[in-house]
């Protein structure tokens, strides 16, 4: 006959302790970890590892800066069906500054940001949504501080930066031709910190929280060449699309109301950007997993890819970016000079050290750990 003993208490100040303090039973915690593993696109076999990691993971301080954005990314996250797994993950972090959500404003809010930075120097996670205007610092300010100054100041003590949404990740809509504000992305300006891009217009809410959960439990996720977490952005929409078999058979909708459209055939000829878009929409889906654009009969716009607004018509089959790239490239180049951070050797060394401090964990590493 087997005996079972309670596991040791969660570490003080940890996510596990926080959840237990909310009156969540061990069974509830297991359910939470199961749903979180699914959200993080991890195999259910990793649930025990996640349970163990979250029991010990300290609640991180998070500073969230919003620049040239539409608040869609914050809406995407906060309008998700709280209180639930995403809600709990979001609650489990210590959100010390978010000017859209916090009650304080003006100097009091900025004081909260400065205090959080001081208390958690080198450890806090900086989340950014929105692009940064370099054309004129007055285009976008918070408490009289320009976006570029606030970003550079806050980034100094961050352990890692999460660029939420296509605007923060690549410049997004504000950067669309002719880029009137001289918008640049976070990674155009910061070269010495690990940056995780979570693009999308907006990103899928569970992907935002999934990235935070991954950072909480296992550190930095493995990234692709555009600094996107591979667990969510490793496959393109087309490869995971349930309409893919129609593409293989050459069955395409030619208009939005023809027989092909009614039968749910492939939307490639109607401009679907699924083949060149890397995101988790086809499996994670939207609105509590109910559907995603292609399932609703509309092609993918490619919103998690750089310069998707300048890719020509959304309804033209796979077009390439048009317009004058010279101006935006100029701003991106100026970004390096303006803030005195070229992608030089020192910056690369600092980034390498920061990445080392928060080692990247791949699914294979987790798998190895499972059997070690």
């Amino acid at each position: 006959m087997s005996t079972r003993k309670p596991s040791s208490s969660p570490a003080p100040g940890s996510v596990g302790e926080y959840l237990r303090a909310q009156g969540i039973s061990r069974r509830g915690f297991l359910k939470f970890c199961t749903a979180t593993a699914s959200m993080m696109a991890l195999s259910p076999a990793f649930v025990p590892r996640l349970v163990e990691a979250l029991e010990k993971a300290p609640r991180p301080s998070v500073i969230w800066l919003s620049f040239q954005e539409c608040t869609g990314c914050t809406e995407s996250l906060t309008r998700s069906h709280a209180p639930t797994v995403e809600g709990l993950i979001f609650d489990a972090i210590s959100l010390d500054y978010h000017h859209t959500l916090q009650a304080a404003s003006g100097e009091a809010a900025e004081l909260a940001r400065e205090e959080a930075m001081k208390e958690n120097w080198g450890k806090y996670v900086l989340v950014v949504d929105g692009s940064i205007p370099l054309g004129n610092p007055g285009f976008s300010t918070i408490a009289g501080i320009s976006n570029v100054d606030m970003l550079m100041d806050t980034a100094k003590g961050a352990a890692a930066i999460v660029s939420v949404g296509t605007c923060a990740a690549y410049g997004g809509l504000p950067q669309a031709d002719p880029n009137p504000t001289g918008a640049v992305s976070v990674q155009d300006l910061i070269k010495d910190k690990p940056i995780i891009n979570v693009p999308g217009c907006p990103p899928i809410p569970v992907v935002i929280t999934g990235v935070l959960a991954h950072f909480l439990a296992f550190g930095l996720p493995e990234l692709d060449e555009l600094n996107r977490p591979k667990v969510f952005y490793g496959q393109n929409i087309h490869d995971r699309c349930y309409r893919r078999p129609f593409y293989e058979r050459g069955q395409f909708a030619e208009t939005f109301d023809d027989e092909g459209a009614k039968k749910g055939w492939c939307l490639y000829k109607l401009g679907c950007k699924g083949p060149t878009t890397y995101n988790a929409c086809a499996t994670t889906k939207w609105n509590q997993g109910a559907s995603f654009p292609i399932e609703s009969g509309h092609g993918c716009l490619g919103c998690s890819e750089p310069r998707f607004w300048d890719g020509g018509s959304f309804y033209k089959a796979l077009s390439v970016p048009t317009g004058d790239l010279g101006q935006t490239a100029g701003y991106a180049l100026a970004a390096g000079g303006a803030v005195g951070i070229a992608a030089g050797l020192l910056a690369r060394q600092k980034k390498a050290q920061a990445v080392k401090d928060h080692e990247t964990v791949t699914v294979n590493d987790l798998h190895k750990g499972e059997h070690s």
């Binding site: 079972r4 969540i24 039973s25 069974r27 259910p44 639930t84 349930y242 499996t283 399932e295």
Partner: protein
């Protein structure tokens, strides 16, 4: 407040041509059942991680059908857990407190872990009971 999708009275008709992912899933379940019998190895399949055409998930559910055991868990919202017509194959669907689905799994196991009493909860219950005596 927005009406949850589950409360809208619609029926999703399966496509005449589907992704073809149901049959491989059934084969995976068959291998998992063999492994359970042979080496006590349990398997969990995340249904939401697989691309299914509209209606296909329901077809899979209908194929597996229901068996002898049905349970409802109340922890962070409800979870519906039932054994399918194939003993050892469990369908688990987790909901949040707004009754929105947050995860669907097939577990091939003797009994799903979540149905067992957890030692930590037993300990907490014992302490509560002792306090009342």
């Amino acid at each position: 407040m927005m009406t949850p999708i589950e409360q809208i009275d619609i029926k999703i008709e399966p496509f005449e041509q589907n992704t073809g992912n149901i049959l491989p899933t059934l084969h995976q379940i068959q291998h998992a059942l063999s492994a359970l019998l042979k080496s006590d190895q349990t398997t969990s399949i995340d249904i939401n991680a697989m691309p299914f055409a509209p209606g296909e998930k329901q077809t899979l559910k209908d194929t597996l059908s229901t068996g002898e055991v049905t349970a409802t868990l109340n922890a962070l919202g409800k979870s519906h857990i039932y054994e399918t017509q194939y003993a050892g194959v469990w369908w688990i669907e987790h909901y949040n407190s707004h009754e929105h689905s947050v995860g669907q799994f097939i577990e091939v196991t003797w009994i799903p872990e979540l149905l067992k009493s957890q030692a930590e909860d037993v300990q907490a219950g014992l302490e509560r009971l002792l306090a009342t005596l």
